[in-house]
């Protein structure tokens, strides 16, 4: 443990989250989403797209999870751009995003889930919904080799504790992210877990 923390967990502040459903095979749908959100909905299963702060995660063949900075308004612009041919639900209150970085972040994922998080199978740009501890989560691989884990707020206490416990053997540090960017590397005063 002398070489510093192997796992760092940083939790994002309030963000906007939306569940979007529609026909991804339709070019007008994809263009409409890209025009409003600034990022196109990924068609390839289990991938995510990002443009700056905004992200679109693949959840299913006709379902995406969108996220953007707090205070963004997507609902009525999307309804307008897609001429109502979509379902858009604001789920901002339901989601927690934590970023796991550090050399052993992948080990924590492998302890927590039956999914194969080997880098060969889970390179940057992939995202999966899977079992995570006794709950479920969306895990996304970032370009900087860190991972974003998105889970329900009602599981937050349990999963924060789970991750802290799973990371303890590697050296665990808890920090926080800015409210405006899910993975911004800002130096926050971080404290040891216990």
């Amino acid at each position: 443990m002398s070489d510093g923390p192997g796992v760092v967990m940083r939790e994002s502040g309030a963000r906007g989250w939306w569940n979007l459903r529609g026909d991804g095979d339709e070019p007008r749908f994809r263009d409409g989403v890209a025009a409003v959100v600034g990022v196109s909905p990924p068609i390839e299963p289990c991938t995510w797209h990002a443009a700056g702060d905004r992200r679109a995660y693949w959840l299913g063949p006709d379902e995406w999870l969108l996220t953007a900075e707090h205070g963004t308004e997507f609902e009525s612009p999307l309804r307008g751009a897609l001429h109502g041919r979509c379902s858009i639900v604001d789920v901002s209150g339901a989601q927690i995003l934590v970023n796991l970085s550090g050399a052993q972040a992948g080990e924590v994922l492998r302890k927590s889930s039956p999914y194969d998080f080997h880098p060969r199978r889970f390179p940057p740009g992939r995202c999966v919904q899977t079992n995570f501890a006794k709950a479920t989560a969306l895990v996304a691989a970032n370009a900087d080799a860190s991972f974003d884990v998105v889970f329900r707020r009602s599981y937050a206490d349990y999963l924060r504790g789970w991750i802290a416990d799973a990371g303890r053997e590697y050296g665990f540090l808890r920090g926080s992210l800015g409210t405006d960017h899910p993975t911004r590397r800002q130096r926050q005063p971080a404290q040891d877990d216990d």
Binding site: C46, L59, Q129
Partner: protein
């Protein structure tokens, strides 16, 4: 532990991400009110329970949350074919015992 190929996520995923929703291709009767109690009971409760290839409805509960059909061998637990709801059931290899 089975690895089940999800036709929507297009990769093999662990069985614990899935839930089995019972036998596939159970069509709801067109006019339930005209059925006898016996016929309605058959529709609700009676299943084929074959030994060998069995068509089942599964849902990727922890993943994409989509339903799809699985042809699974009830003896070896081998997942033979995975196909989407609405597609015709494939013929099980080696003949259907049901």
């Amino acid at each position: 532990m089975l690895l089940i190929p999800c036709p929507f996520c297009r990769e093999d995923r662990s069985e614990e991400e899935f839930s089995c929703a019972g036998e596939a291709h159970i069509a709801r009767p067109e006019k339930p009110a005209e059925l006898s109690d016996h016929e309605w009971g058959d529709y609700l409760f009676m299943r084929t329970n074959p030994r060998g290839p069995h068509r089942e409805l599964w849902v990727h509960t922890a993943g994409c949350r989509r339903y799809f059909n699985v042809l699974r061998d009830t003896v070896s637990y081998e997942v033979l074919v995975v196909y989407e709801v609405g597609q015709p059931p494939p013929d099980p290899p080696g003949g259907d015992e049901s």
